[in-house]
Symmetry: C2
DNA sequence: TAGATTGTTAATCGATTAACAATC
DNA sequence: TAGATTGTTAATCGATTAACAATC
């Protein structure tokens, strides 16, 4: 990471990207920050500021070329690379992610599934055979896994994270509701569903 | 919503709550903001500030009573209520959420499943029969549904959101990767998995 | 040209961090 | 008492919003 760019900005880029895709589908060649902002409920100033972090992508008095900006954002986000995922923990959530189609359109594909449960190991999910978690190292190397997805219970998550780091994955996507310690060199994104649900409960409780 | 409390604070409360539960399991009666912070990688000042938003829960020179603070947080977050969920869209993700055990321990239970697909309607998932989405109103009333969970494709999400609002749910938990418009009186939490995954891709791309 | 819209600088707002008095 | 730790005020930092010159 060279420049320090805010998490908030990074999290908005995928929204811009997604919306530009839709504009492209609608054969709209040019959009302004104003139109884009209206679609996403984000101020045009915010959008211009976010984009300005990475360069000058628009034309004054005109707006942004939809296709061009979309491609630029894809490059910034690394969505042109073909990321390979291994899911550790093939329970309901892990299984659902193995089948999740939205990832493919962003350049991600699930190439390996691992579990500790002997009853699950050997079964097929979405055409992929579930391997024993002890084979993680071997599989990460052989299948050129980039990203480890953690969908095991909280108590086992740190152990799995350690295994993933040792195996050489480049990033970790964690669904276990627990704080993980991984080296600062390995990007880690936490997808803690209980936070959102608790927040919802909070807002429903206040009146 | 009376006082305006930052989203960041609200999102940290579930972390405190969860960690206090673990401390309670470990039979630890008292903790300091320092210990809690070390466990979560959050500064003790931040924790004290967050808690101070809601009252005075600690004892100077001593720390916080684990059980007491846990209960106070549960009350603030509304986790003592028994929230009833209806999941609209019983695909892989919806099905996984229907089976997700972590919710139960937070006071949430899935009471209804709905889908538009005739092949899915009538099947059982985790002991719940999938109903046709046209019966939404009836089911929300009969089963006293509080929260509508949206796990349908993006293009259908706004329509489902409108149906849910009309049916009288008190909150919406949206997994569809799209911006939803709902009345400001209905809390809406977006759980957009593609944002986290794209952010991970971004960080893995920067070196 | 007049109108539209970007990119960027300056102003504001809000959240985090630091400091410390109160007190157990 | 001395040491520990909270609750709260003040200082800092960072993100958003406003303003506007540049320019298509």
């Amino acid at each position: 990471m060279k420049k320090m760019i805010s998490q908030a900005t990074i999290d908005r880029l995928p929204l811009y990207f997604r919306t530009l895709r839709l504009f492209e589908d609608e054969k709209i060649p040019i959009i302004s920050s104003d139109e884009l902002g209206r679609r996403l409920d984000i101020t045009p100033e915010q959008i211009r500021k976010d984009l300005a972090t990475f360069g000058q992508f628009g034309r004054k008095g005109i707006g942004y070329d939809v296709h061009d900006l979309k491609e630029k954002l894809a490059n910034i986000l690394g969505l042109h690379k073909h990321w390979r995922l291994a899911i550790v923990g093939v329970g309901h959530l892990g299984g659902a992610l193995a089948n999740y189609v939205n990832f493919a359109s962003l350049g991600f594909s699930v190439v390996a599934l691992l579990d500790i449960n002997k009853k699950v190991v050997g079964t097929q999910v979405n055409g992929i055979k579930v391997a024993d978690v002890t084979r993680l190292n071997e599989i990460v190397a052989k299948d050129e896994v980039d990203i480890g997805v953690i969908t095991v219970p909280a108590q086992e998550a740190q152990g799995v994270a350690d295994l993933l780091v040792a195996s050489g994955v480049k990033g970790i996507w964690n669904f276990a509701p627990t704080k993980l310690n991984v080296p600062a060199t390995i990007p880690l994104i936490n997808e803690d569903l209980s936070i959102g649900l608790s927040a919802l409960s909070y807002y429903m409780t206040q009146e």
